[in-house]
Symmetry: C2
Subunit: 354 residues, 2 copies
DNA sequence: CTGAAAGCGCTTACAG
DNA sequence: CTGAAAGCGCTTACAG
């Protein structure tokens, strides 16, 4: 529902009254006729400015309806994107903003003609652009910024550069929390199944994990750190490699829920019980974590809120406001469920003591 | 003799004269008011068509940018909606159509002011409206059709009435295929865990299941048919009730993948092995079916294609074309994976024979 | 140059 | 339901 301001929308007659001329004269100034005295023209123009007058045509062109923003998701087909989208759409509805959604692969995004794209958005009166887990070049960004179209990236692949507005999660702190939870349970042989090396969020998770090991005096073992994709397939493959080691890990920190799903499947296939024989922590905290057996201990990202925050930032920028910071990270939270426990050796020792 | 130049841009009064009504009446038709007799409306619309009249608003909306349609999803947060959305967005991209997505609960949808909503869409030059798993009243529908905004419903909750264009799947055939697969494996005690009674698709699945039983001379047992929701929670609850029966079923046909997920969890909790002790067939065929252990045998709906077909229909209608049929059902397909097997008794007998 | 008056195209309020 | 009448916001034609 759109609220009508009590302040009456300025009409040609209003402007005329303020400028002390007749309506036809204002009409002439607006339409660029030359039969108006310079002084009169100046007075009328001042009045137009002051009242923020817009002709019906201008008003219409300026998108008569609710504000609209574009949202581009790379690979809609995962739980992660879905939750970001839901948060964003819910907030959009409450703000009376409409969202044009596109599902675009990174390759297509990269090869797109950004000038044309930005011009089309400007013509359509779009207020801003939100990208999810994509990267954007400085050159492409300038196509939009030159047209006053703000761009916000959710969970950017690149490290946050100044000039690119982005919303992320505290990936480093999340990685640290995951590893510390496992260390706290008594684990020392903790593996990391990461995503793409190029993804900044993945690198941050890795370094959080390394920081936790280091601060507890645990040496990191290169064989325990595998980089791949945020996918179940990589979880399966990585687990196979880890369990084939002479000294396999007692715990795995998977850098995404999807990866953890793969770990769970491969462990089951090999008769390795989770959490009895192997502890497992995921990352993302999507609805998937509740659907596995055992339910998955995971670092939850505030995906819903990230969608919300990104839209809020775009609307603020479109409104000419200044943001507190270009890059914002929302807090992750470790949610302990059923896939983590003390390592076997510990429990065996505890039983022996009894 | 009065010679009118044909090049003259048609104006409201021109249309009125041709239709033999007054200008205000034409104005009402254009703006979708409901206080115009059907016959009068038809005459006016014919005149509008013949003269190619366009209001200033329409003229502006039309000349600018790619076509846009609105998509309203009820409860985005499930795999089903996600796959429909993906199919629809991919086709939209290839057709250079933009999609405005909203996530609206059924309650909100019901209480919405459809007149205002339809008028906003008309003002914004939207080509059509697509609803996913929602119901729409005849009254609401008329708000849109009066403004020449076609509406297509994907997987409608109500039985397809004439006048409502919808895209669904062959739910009855799918239900029959699921039950026949189980019967073919030797099962006779087959339960059905359904969705809401109000959902037409669910009723069709149930009757497909019943038809299969009947055609094989298997009596249907009331205790084996439970109606609830398309959710994992109901899968858990239903399984609990079924396994507590004096003579529990040897197979369960779950009317959604989510329900099947719940069945799987509860079976595991009770130490009932799938498919050894219990066979399970799901319905939807979302990506979930590949992620479970065992992987889920399921009736797959062509969700991707349903999204695609719905958009295609809306664009055709917007283009003034006539559809072959108001309601279309795309074929479901049984995909056999690892959650179904011959019932125990059968296998025991087979072993005894060896 | 300027603006009263007429006009344009559309919408609104309301009597019948 | 319908349309005469009034109104709205803007533009045009033209007298001064």
């Amino acid at each position: 529902m759109r609220e009508k301001k009590p302040a009456a929308k300025p009409v040609l007659a209003t402007v005329a009254a303020l400028a002390g001329v007749s309506a036809p004269t204002v009409s002439k100034v607006i339409n660029g006729r030359d039969d108006v005295a310079a002084g009169t023209r100046a007075r009328v123009q001042a009045a137009l400015e002051e009242l923020g007058y817009e002709s019906p045509v201008q008003r219409r062109a300026k998108s008569h309806g609710p504000a609209m923003v574009d949202l581009v998701i790379d690979g809609l087909n995962n739980q992660y994107a879905l939750e970001v989208l839901t948060g964003l759409l819910d907030f959009a509805a409450s703000e009376d903003v409409e969202v044009v959604v596109s599902n675009v692969t990174p390759a297509k995004l990269h090869s797109a003609n950004h000038e044309e794209w930005a011009q089309r958005m400007a013509d359509a009166g779009r207020k801003g652009l939100i990208l999810v887990t994509s990267e954007i070049t400085a050159k492409a960004l300038s196509s939009f910024s030159r047209r006053n179209i703000p761009v916000v990236v959710i969970d950017p692949l690149n490290p946050p550069r100044s000039g690119i507005v982005s919303v992320g999660a505290t990936n480093w702190a999340g990685g640290k929390a995951a590893a510390e939870h496992l260390i706290g349970l008594g684990h020392r042989r903790i593996a990391f199944l990461g995503g793409p090396n190029a993804a900044e969020c993945n690198v941050a998770r890795l370094h959080g994990y390394l920081a936790a090991l280091m601060s507890h005096g645990i040496e990191s073992i290169p064989d325990y750190v595998l980089m791949g994709q945020f996918s179940a397939g990589f979880g399966v493959e990585g687990t196979r490699r880890l369990l084939a080691l002479d000294e396999p890990p007692t715990a795995i920190f998977a850098a995404s829920d999807a990866t953890a799903l793969g770990v769970l499947d491969e462990a089951r296939r090999q008769g390795v019980r989770v959490p009895d024989d192997l502890s497992l922590v995921g990352f993302d905290g999507t609805a998937l974590t509740e659907q596995t057996l055992p339910r998955l201990t995971a670092v939850a990202q505030p995906l819903f809120e990230m969608g919300r925050a990104a839209l809020r930032s775009v609307l603020r920028l479109a409104n000419g406001e200044v943001l507190d910071a270009d890059h914002v990270e929302l807090a992750t939270e470790l949610v302990v469920r059923d896939s983590t426990a003390a390592p076997r050796i510990h429990r065996a020792a505890a039983v022996a003591r009894d």
